[in-house]
């Protein structure tokens, strides 16, 4: 009996492993930046390049940094969702306009609406490298101490918004004021 059972068990284990493997997106590489301080940056604002914005200014607040670009097709899909989330007002969304032409980016916001408190221009993608960006859109949730607590690679779907981001935002808002 065991003679036939053993191959069957081995086969079953293999199927389970392969099924798990098939269900995973190989593009989603876990970021080593989770629970690490958000890399500092100081960049010109998209809408007013004479002004700058730095990650430091957000100390004491919970915020989202969304990496986007007008050339990014998936960002276009994500955009209406971001507008909806921004309207909800749960957490301020800031944009990192990644390797984009400012005029294209501005046209994009003009056409589709602007969910961002403000966007900054990462023209050469150098800050993107610091944040380990490899495929827009990417979204970082940063807490009051300036630590990255969550990263979404690809669009922030309603599922991820309600299941991952909102609970974390609530938890982060409850605990620890600005230190």
């Amino acid at each position: 009996m065991t003679r036939y059972l053993i191959p069957l068990v081995i086969f079953g284990v293999l199927v389970v492993f392969l099924a798990i493997g098939l269900g995973r997106d190989p593009h989603e590489v876990p970021s080593p930046l989770i629970n690490k301080p958000a890399p500092p940056f100081k960049l010109a604002q998209l809408k007013d390049p004479s002004k700058t914005f730095s990650a430091e200014e957000m100390r004491g607040r919970v915020w989202l940094l969304n990496v986007w670009a007008s050339w990014c097709i998936t960002c276009r899909d994500e955009h209406p969702l971001l507008i909806e989330y921004a309207r909800g007002g749960a957490v301020p969304i800031f944009g990192l306009n990644y390797k984009d032409k400012p005029e294209d980016a501005l046209a994009w916001l003009g056409e589709l609406g602007d969910p961002y408190v403000l966007s900054v221009s990462d023209l050469d993608g150098r800050i993107g490298i610091d944040y380990g960006v490899y495929g827009a859109p990417e979204t970082y949730l940063i807490d009051k101490q300036g630590v990255i607590r969550f990263k979404q690679i690809g669009p922030v779907t309603p599922d991820i918004w309600t299941k991952n981001i909102l609970p974390l935002v609530q938890e982060m808002n409850r605990q620890g004021g600005s230190r």
Partner: protein, 202 residues
């Protein structure tokens, strides 16, 4: 080697070469869409088809051109080439940073170039990249508890297989019942042997 075999061999080699070049061309051609992670297969295939011809002809000589206008420093380029062979492009994950034409790969090569010029060691540069992109960027995963299974698993399997084989062979040997030759058998065997025609030895 006969001329016919020679011909087949060269045909096979040639075919392999062409297929490999084509593969590289398709991969490279697909990158403009590959960067964005939308699985837009139609566009990707279309772009591939359009670009195969031109990309195959343009060949690899044009790749990996430094972005900056400074004249390339051969020592820096050599170190960059060696380093980037060991690193994965995160956009097109089956390509090394050296091979990939994705924008990100270009940026990262430029970053590595800058760091080499700034006198950073290879370890420092690799640490810089793994801090941002994780171990996944390394084609050679580091040995640590999390990767023990990956590194030593095959050897464990090999030893396990050997143990099973050993047990199996031993059991089979035990199954053979050795019966000593009886005197009658021996006599019969000798009779048979002696009756066999002898070979003349001269």
């Amino acid at each position: 080697m006969s001329s016919k075999r020679m011909l087949i061999w060269s045909a096979v080699t040639c075919h392999r070469f062409v297929m490999r070049q084509l593969g590289a061309a398709v991969r490279k051609a697909a990158i403009p869409t590959c960067r964005d992670r939308t699985p837009n297969r139609f566009l990707r295939v279309f772009v591939s088809i359009v670009l195969i011809g031109s990309a195959a002809i343009a060949a690899s000589a044009q790749l990996r051109r430094p972005i900056s206008n400074d004249p390339p420093d051969p020592a820096v380029e050599q170190r960059l080439a060696k380093l980037s062979q060991e690193l994965r492009c995160l956009v097109c994950q089956n390509e090394t940073l050296a091979d990939s034409r994705a924008d990100l790969a270009e940026d990262l090569r430029e970053e590595i170039r800058t760091q080499i010029r700034a006198g950073k060691s290879d370890q420092e540069i690799i640490a810089f990249l793994t801090q941002r992109y994780g171990d996944f960027i390394l084609y050679r995963p580091p040995v640590r508890p999390k990767t023990y299974l990956l590194w030593f698993g095959p050897f464990v399997l090999l030893l396990g297989g050997l143990a099973l084989l050993f047990r199996y062979v031993k059991r089979r040997r035990d199954m053979i019942d050795e019966q000593p030759l009886s005197n009658a058998d021996r006599a019969q065997a000798e009779k048979l042997l002696s009756s066999a025609p002898r070979k003349e030895t001269t």
